[in-house]
Subunit: 321 residues, 2 copies
């Protein structure tokens, strides 16, 4: 019997799930070649587009198909522009076991959890101030998920509009942060040493000139060949450049831009799952940050293992609830 | 609100739906270039495989994503080897509007309806006897759907096993047919002038030597580059060779085999949607059968427009029920 799981049911179980280890396992499986994730399917429509991501981990019980859509005139109809659902099938029989009508929320959450994982393994020991670039849903979720991996509650947020900055500040202060706002991007890199960028910008926002030693930056916004949030000189200067998926980052995101500009080399790239495996299993060959002076960059473009693991975790939590 | 539609609900509305015109519209839209159907997504697992077909018609309200699976050890678990579901989304907003938990049944039905459509446009006026090759679910559904386009109730069925033949005979006689059985394939082409082949054979079953003028054959079983039910000489001798999708049949099915053998030319192929459009709209440029002496072949490999139209028709019928 296929279980239909509503947005409310998902929202209710999410706080009970320890998502960081679940999604860490996904990244490790991906980097160890235990994940199968064929190319993304894409359907272009007059008013929007739909993407189909799918795959499985070889030692898992499920395979997952995620459908995500973006329809950019939806807000005029009073609807969110993005939507989506996740389907879970039994890996032994192909039977559909559950349909998660998450309306795209689990994609937002798994992206924020990946940001927390990147900070957990790469941020300097002493985070002085968290810098957030952007004021949207991902800017909020990234900060909320950082709570589980960092004690720092001092935050500087950059945005284009004063109203959005104010809203972000109020909402995050209510969640226990001490947020200041700025419309000057230079303030982010000059006063923060853990920075997350969350915008769909097509031109670099953070500039090399403001970069201090000891900074970690997680770039979440760019997931296409054209979007870019970081001056590629930042990657050139970084001691450690980490991709969620090296093959995917060769063609999209910040790493793609820096490679295209000839400023970094493919063979210096590390993969997030390898860093997690090395640190959690005591293997030394892939280390990530080795001291508090280093500059580290994590480029997160989104991989299907995140969807696979969050879908499975939600389904299991609902089953045992 | 996304509607979850059960197998029982689907079974209940199917007899009320006039599927032939709905799926004819799909074939016409496909041949006129009004259908968008990206390449099929494929997920290979240890014990089976899943396929994702998706697309839409430009002048329609929905887009449809179909997930179909085949797990060949399932019968040992008491489960059917094939399974599946169809998802219907709003073309204007991307919102999921319905999930049809059809367990793959609608794929079987739309395949059988395509067979009836091929016979409607290509069979000789006087069908003397219907020949069915194979005794499985598709062999049954093809015959049942032929009832709506032919008065003939005399049937000869070929199968490898006596028990399956007997079961087929009893089941179809109960549905108003007069079925005889044979284990000699030569009997099919020598006594029937409307023939449907429904097996997953990898070697030709029907041989050129037994072919009579005036025969129509619909080949349904071969939908891969390797499967083949017809001696390619049959296609070489045919006056009319029709594909459900010319681009798809270049790479799979009976047409693919005959082209590979150099026995037919690509430019002689007609497409089913063009024949339907020509005959229903009085256009003469693509005709199909022009007299009762001709030999006609329809090679059906399955196209996404069939899924799109049957899913939409079922959803609309359930909404108005």
């Amino acid at each position: 019997m296929t279980l239909l799981i509503s947005p409310d049911q998902i929202e209710a179980v999410l706080p009970q799930i320890d998502l960081i280890p679940a999604i860490e396992q996904g990244f490790v499986a991906y980097s160890e070649g235990r994940a199968v994730a064929p190319p993304v399917g894409e359907l272009l429509l007059e008013k929007g587009e739909a993407h189909i991501k799918y795959g499985y981990l070889k030692d898992d019980s499920y395979y997952v198909i995620k459908i995500a859509s973006g329809f950019y005139e939806n807000p005029q109809l009073g609807l969110p522009s993005s939507n989506g659902l996740m389907l879970i099938f039994d890996q032994q029989s192909g039977e559909p076991v559950a349909i998660l009508l998450d309306e795209g929320h689990l994609t937002d959450v798994r992206t924020a959890v990946a940001g927390a994982i990147a900070a957990k393994y790469l941020a300097p020991r002493q985070v002085e101030r968290i810098g957030i670039v952007g004021t949207g849903i991902q800017a909020r979720l990234q900060l909320l998920h950082l709570q589980t991996v960092s004690d720092c509650r001092d935050v500087l947020v950059w945005g284009r509009g004063q109203r959005q900055l104010k809203r972000y500040q109020i909402a995050m202060n209510e969640r226990g942060f001490n947020v200041e706002t700025t419309r000057d991007l230079a303030d982010i890199l000059s006063t923060c040493n853990l920075v997350v960028t969350t915008t769909p910008s097509n031109t670099p926002l953070l500039q090399f000139e403001n970069l201090k030693s000891g900074t970690h930056i997680t770039a979440v916004g760019s997931d296409t060949p054209h979007k870019q949030e970081l001056d590629s000189q930042i990657l050139a200067r970084a001691d450690v450049v980490v991709a969620d998926s090296i093959p995917q980052c060769l063609g999209r995101g910040e790493i793609h831009q820096a490679l295209k500009a000839g400023l970094i080399e493919q063979d210096q790239l590390l993969e997030l799952g390898d860093i997690i495996a090395a640190q959690t299993r005591g293997r030394a060959q892939t280390r990530g940050r080795i001291d508090d002076k280093q500059i580290t960059i994590a480029d997160l473009t989104g991989v299907a293992v995140q969807d696979i693991k969050i879908a499975g975790a939600v389904y299991e939590a609902i089953q045992t609830a």
